[in-house]
Each structure stands twice: as C-alpha cells, then as structure tokens.
Symmetry: C2
Subunit: 493 residues, 2 copies
C-alpha cells in the first residue's frame, strides 16, 4: 500500500482514538491548568439503547447496544434545550472529553448534553468482537445507518425523559461528526432545529474541490510558521532518497532518526516517508494555541516549535535528516519518554481506525493528491482504480465514490436551513469544507489561527480572539434557533 | 386472515395492476371518446438502468435492471424541464397510461416526461422470478431504496442526455407514488425543485390521524350519493349474518349473489363480507365523473349508480341481499360479460399486490379501523399485535410501525419546501393526506368532487370545475419552481 492509500485512509484528527492513559490526562487538561475560568465539571451518566442493526431492511431483526452519555446538570425543563453530539469514528467518551464547548455553553442554553456513539466504534459494536470480521458483518457501517441511530435515539429520549418532548434539539459535531451533524439536519430536519458542523469537509468528495487542497493547506501552515520551514521539508524527501541509495544509507537513516526497527529495503523507505508525511499532516490538524494532548502531548503552536529545527534547506542531506529528526521528536517525544520512534506505530492501528478504513473504502471516498509544487510533499496523483483495488484486497468491497454526493447533495444544498459550518483556516480539512455562506441560514464561520475544530474545544486563556468570536457567534445562532422553536410552539397552542 | 388484515393490506387504487387486456382499453380511453380536446399521443421509449440492489450496504455489488420510460416530444433543451413520475407499486406502463395530466402539460412546460418503475414491480425485479421468494430476497423492497433508485436515475439522465444537466426536475406521483414524490423532495431536495404529491396519505401512519378516517370517508361518499345508501349497506352485514345462520342460508346467499364458488362455512361468509367491503372501498376511490376503467370498467359517478339499488334499508334480509347483488354487479359486471362473481378474485392477487402486501407488513403500516357508527362497516379495531403476527406468518418479517414517521417526519415537515399535496374530497385516502397548507410552499389543494388522484388523470370534458382549477393551480406552482430554478441558475453565472 503506497502513500496514496495511506492518505486516503487519513483519519480526522478528532477521530484518532487515544489510549486510556492519555484520556485521563485529557480530562485533567480540560478541568484545570489551561482553562481561563473555573473548571466545568464533566459529570455524565452512561446509557445504552437497543438499536436495529439494519434500519433499512427487514430481513434481520437483530439489535445491538448503542452507548450514549447524558449530562443534565444545567438542563432545565422550562425553556431548555438538548445539545446532541453526533458521534464520529471513535470512543464517545473521548469525544465527550474533547468537546468542551458543549460543556461551556450548557448553562447558558439550559441544555441537556447528549453524546451518541457511532456504531462500530467504542463500545457500540453491532456484532461484538466479530464486527470487523468480514464485509458481511461490516455491511451496516454507513453514515445512513448512523444517522438513523441518532434519529431513533432522539425519539427514544423524547419519550423516555419527561420535559424533553417539547424541547428543541441541536446537532453538533466535529470533523466526520460535523458532517454527520450537517447531514442529520439535512435528512432529519424534523429531529433537530439546526446543526453546528465544525471542520466538516462535506465537499471533499468526487471533484467538488481540487484533490490537492488538503496538502496545500498543510504546506501553508508550515510555510507560515517559520522561515524556510516548508521548503526544508520539501527538500527532505530527495535527501532521504539519496541517502537510502547509498551503501550504508538505510543503516545511517535508521540511526539518525532513532527508529525502533531499522529500515531494510526500499519499501521501508516509502513507509518511512509516509509516516513522516502523516506526522506533518497531524501537526497541521492539531496546531492549537496551547499545550494539548489531542493526538500526542504537544506544546502550544507545535508547528512553530517544529519549524525551529527546519530553518535551513541548504544543508547537506545528512544534516537535513538530522534536523527532520529533531522536528519529529517534537511530535513523538514532547514528554521526553520515547526511546525510539516507531514508524509502524500510528494512531490508526486501533479499532476506530479499522472502521474508518472501511468507511473510506466504501462511502467516504475523499480524493487526495500532491504535486510537490503547490505543496511540500512528493508528487502523488489520485488513482481511483488503484484505490478501489486496494480496498477490494483489504475489505472485499469496492468504493462508490459518487454516492455521498448523490445522497447528500454535493454543492447543491441551498434548500436546507440552519446549519453553521465552521472551519479553522489552519485546518487542512477546511479546503473541503463550506467556507462561504450558502444562504442566510446556511452560514460559514472561518476562524483564522484555528486548527481542526478548535471552536468545539473548551475555552482557554490562550484562545485567539478569532475562536472566541466564532464561539459567541455560534451561541447566538443556536439561541436564535431555540427562540424560533419556542415561538413556533406557542403559535401552535 | 380476518378483514382487519385485508384492510391493512388495502392497495391504493392507482396501485392495482390491471390485466393486459384492460390496459389496451385504457390507452384507448385516454386518446379518444372521453377527451375534451384532440388526443395527446402517448409516445414513449422504454429504457433500463443498472441499479444497485442495495444502495445502503456494500457487502453485495449485485445490480438489477430498472425500467423507465421517456417521452420527449415536447421537451426543449432551451428552458425546458423534466417531469419525473416516481413510480409506485405496479407496472410503470400502466401508470404512464393513467397519468394523462403529465402528457397534457408537457408542451406548456417544454417538459421531458420520465416514468420510473418502482423496484419489485413490473419488470424491475431485483432477483427476477425469485424476487418474492423469501424475506432475504425481499429485503431491498423499501421506500428508501426506491428513492435512491430515483436519485441514481436522475443523476444518470443528467449525465447521459445533453441539455438535461441544467434543467429543473419536478417529481410527480399519485397515491403511494405521491408519497414517494413528497418524500423524494424531502430527502433529495438537490435532485428536484418541487413535488406534486397527489392523493398521498403521508399521515396515515401511527396515530397521526384517527384509524377510522378512511372508512368514514367511504361511508360519506355513499351517504351523499343516494338516499339511504350507506344505511342500507350498514344493515346488510347483519342481514348476511342472519341469512348465513339459517339452514340453507349459505346456499341461498351463494345463489342470490351469483357467486362462482358456493359458500361452505363461516370463514367463507367472512371472506364474502371482506370482499364486499373492499368493493365499496374501491368504488370510493374510483368515483370518477366519467366512464372509466381504472380498477374495473365503470360508469360515470359509479357510486350514484350503485346507490340506485340501495335506496331502502327497511326491507327483508333476502331482498336487501338481492339489492346488494345488483349494486355489486355495477362494479363487477358493467361490461355485462361476467357470468358469476368470484370473491377470491381480487385485483390484489397479482405480483404488484404481493409486493405491496410485503411493504404493508414492514414500513407501510397504515392503521385502519371501523366502528359501524361513524361508518357503514362492521366494527373492527386496529390490533397491531394480531397484524404483526399475521405478517410474520406470511412473510417472516415484523412491521416497524413507527419507522415511517421517524424517517420522514410525520406531521413535523414544515422545514421542507415546494410540495403540493392534492387530495380529492371523495377519496378515502384524503383523511391521511395533507389537506391544509403547512407553510407558504407546502401547499394543500383540496378537490371537491374529486376521487383518488383525479387531478393526475387526463383532461376530459366531464371533469368538474374543481379539478380543472386544481390542475391549473398545480401548473402555476410548477411554472414558478421552474422560473425560480432558472433565475437562480442565472445568478450563479
């Protein structure tokens, strides 16, 4: 599998499951040092709902338990609301802990918070341990089934919890979860009065946007974070190639980069370059203004830190690679604990990644490419045929690259209403997102200095003004939707 | 299976497939005697598109051929439009022949007519002769899959036929096809600029309307079509019951009603009453102002004719039953060719009926009931448990009565736009339809003196003014949608 496929399977930042140990640290983070105001206690209860494995067929009546969380500290029966997180490809507790925005606004909106786990992720496995066994078991892992789960869950809550039945629900989500929030409002507008879709690249399909837009943004982030930074990275690929071709080159590279497992052949070199590329991509997603631990423990503005090691492209190949190592070390060893770097250890080896790889091979076909000119990466074209063959080898299924636009409308979405599309300008996913108002009620919020769904994260003292403004605008829209809902309710009675 | 189930499986008038012989007669009808103006030639070409059997899962890549018809005589590349019939539960050629409205307005709207056959009906069988074999083969017979077929077809046409790519598409349908037209606009608003949903009982689900509304309207039609007519029918059930209990009662009833197969037990008597009830129901649906052959060859205003035999409820049981026979004879023997009446021969024994029975047992769960007070039928309550058990016996599936409202919104549809809901006041299905404006762009047109989707039928000299007005209003809305589409297109360029 070449780099092309790796990129195609690229997970959203928010998507990457984090080991339990880091999760604890994550909660810690949200509730103290980085917070600009008293900690918001994240108190939630865990629940399960019996869901049909197949909402769209009647041959099987099988069900599974979908997990969801409820936090109702600030919820008010009188004039309250429900903020519904449309969970994406990972453990819902992790999303809950990393969506501080919802916790921050709960009191103001008198809101109950609901976090719904996406089927095939976390504990919500339709066939338990067999869920990823083969394409037959994976058949029910689609965005449509996930949206139907959300609809059933909302219906269930409104029947089960007195006081919720006449309250407005707002969908919120980031990344793939942001797509789901937007699509949920489009397909089930009777269920939610509006949606906040943060960093949701709903247009990163077919040829709606250029396939190179993603890598171009990554490159821009590096270019603007330090002198010669992107140029240094651009030159690093050939430096690695030249060194690899030398007699003891693989050995030298393995030593210089402190790799846990030495490189032994040219395939390893390709894997090395893929892994380095993914590191730069991940950094672009999590280029947050404060110390954070989203994908890895990282310093504030990590790309700036990285770029301090990448100031000079005009050095020898060996020095260039040594500088790259220093840069990589910022990402992989901020804690100072790592003894070596493991290029086969990516965040995508967990269950969540497995599911996403299947989704990328079926519905979520996002074309990526690079040309080395507009971006700092080695040239790679988008080859659907090759991609499809790889998918068939891995999963026994072939992608339907046109389906998402057929079912969700592509760029032709103007008949929908009440969706906020927010995007950080630093976020490589913003290129596939909605960054201009489509109509008065399909609005775009662009956040300069914002990385991947920064707006959904908790308030901190280090937040740039841009994201504070974005959040307050988002709250204003949500309040308006809630107000409109109650006004319309009063007209009916 | 009692009458309850029979009613629950009740087919829409438009739905009932008609034998080929009648079909020819149908074309004849539309193109001559009853027409108020020169015949509109129904010239169409027949096409097939390869569709995925399962749009919502990737385990199978199986495809089948969906049939569709195109009539482009009046279509114009410059400023034209596409009228797209969302086919329902039957042979698409029959719907094509019975939707004269589209043919009548084609020239005015410069429209291409497209008639898409619904999967599992007509020739569009996903598994050929095995399509109805078992619940595994029937698994892909749902409204959601049908809508996805329509979306794929429109996308296909726009790519295949030069000139269509920038033209507005309008969905049209009657009865279940009307539901599909409305739901298609709701779920795929990027595909169609609006929908004309004629006689579409989208609210005949769960408890959105009283379950007795259907039989109440049937009764009203009979009550208003002749003195004592409904009262006579109301008394007929007990008359039949009393006669059946007599020594030679079954024999006498069989003779008096000219039944092809004599009644032999009490179950037969129940089947007889079910069959008679269904006859009155069908008459209410096709109470058209002119001779027609929709379900059977019938005179103009057939209920009036029927009621001429049902003027006196205060006669002996035997005379009452003899009068009932005369009334039934109008429906089953208008041509004068029938030698006896066959109570097991209902229109619902064909393939289309088989598919509908499955749909009624899964998604399309429409509660029916009667109480003998507000209606002229024997009391029958709606018993979901019994219904579900019957479905399980017949198909091995159980209904999900709540699903349609979950997925399509029930009464909470106000965020959608550009749907016309038309209903005839005589039509028993109108009780489950939208008969009041929901918003400015979700409009209701009620047609006094109109039976089941009369507005979709061809113009005739016998049409009441009410339906002429309805049709011209419908055209006005459609023209507005087309105009808005082109205005928005111009703004983009």
């Amino acid at each position: 599998m070449g780099r092309l496929l790796l990129l195609a399977f690229l997970m959203f930042g928010a998507a990457t499951p984090v080991p339990p140990a880091l999760r604890a640290f994550s909660s810690l983070h949200l509730s103290n040092s980085f917070s600009s105001r008293p900690a918001v206690a994240m108190k939630y209860s865990i629940h399960y709902i019996q869901q049909k494995v197949d909402h769209f067929g009647f041959n099987t009546d099988k069900t599974f338990k979908q997990r969801y969380l409820i936090a109702d500290t600030h919820w008010r029966k009188d004039g309250g609301s429900i903020l519904f997180y449309t969970g994406n490809e990972g453990d819902i507790i992790w999303f809950c802990n990393n969506t501080g925005f919802m916790w921050d606004v709960a009191e103001e909106l008198k809101a109950m918070l609901v976090f719904a786990e996406h089927r095939y992720y976390g504990e919500s496995l339709p066939f338990g341990a067999h869920s990823f066994k083969d394409s037959r078991h994976l058949n029910f892992l689609t965005s449509e089934q996930a949206l139907a789960d959300f609809a059933e869950l909302i219906r269930h809550l409104k029947r089960k919890i007195p006081g919720t039945e006449n309250q407005p629900v707002i969908a919120l989500g980031g990344s793939y979860g942001g797509m789901l929030a937007a699509w949920f409002r489009m397909k089930y507008p009777h269920m939610v009065v509006g949606a906040l879709a943060s960093s949701a690249p709903i247009w990163h399909f077919e040829n709606l946007v250029p396939c190179g837009v993603f890598m171009k943004t990554v490159t821009k982030d590096f270019r603007e974070s330090g002198p010669n930074c992107s140029e240094t990275i651009r030159r690093s690929w050939d430096a690695i190639n030249r060194l690899a071709r030398k007699g003891t080159g693989l050995h030298w590279l393995s030593e210089a980069l402190h790799l846990c497992t030495p490189l032994t052949n040219s395939q390893d070199v390709q894997r090395l370059k893929d892994w380095i590329s993914e590191t730069w991509v991940n950094l672009a997603m999590v280029d947050y203004p404060y110390e954070s631990d989203f994908l890895q423990p990282l310093p504030a503005w990590p790309i700036k830190v990285v770029c301090q090691y990448l100031k000079n492209p005009n050095v020898s190949d060996s020095l260039l690679v040594q500088n790259i190592f220093q840069a990589l070390n910022v990402y992989y060893n901020y804690s100072g604990q790592a003894r070596c770097l493991n290029i086969s250890e990516t965040a995508t080896s967990s269950l969540g990644a497995l599911g996403w790889s299947y989704q990328a091979c079926t519905e979520m076909v996002m074309p990526f490419c690079s040309n080395g000119i507009d971006d700092m990466f080695e040239p790679n074209s988008w080859d659907l045929k090759e991609f499809s063959d790889d998918c068939f080898r891995q999963w026994g299924v072939r992608p339907r690259p046109y389906w998402i636009t057929t079912v969700y409308g592509g760029k032709n979405i103007s008949s929908h209403t009440n969706i906020i599309f927010s995007n950080g300008e630093l976020d490589p996913w913003s290129g596939g997102g909605v960054t201009k108002n489509v109509t008065d009620t399909l609005v775009a919020i662009v956040i300069p200095k914002g990385a991947h769904h920064l707006d959904l994260r908790a308030n901190t003292a280090f937040d740039p003004t841009t994201v504070l403004l974005a959040r307050s605008l988002e709250v204003r829209y949500m309040k308006q939707w809630i107000k409109d809902f109650y006004a319309s309710l009063r007209r009916k009675h």
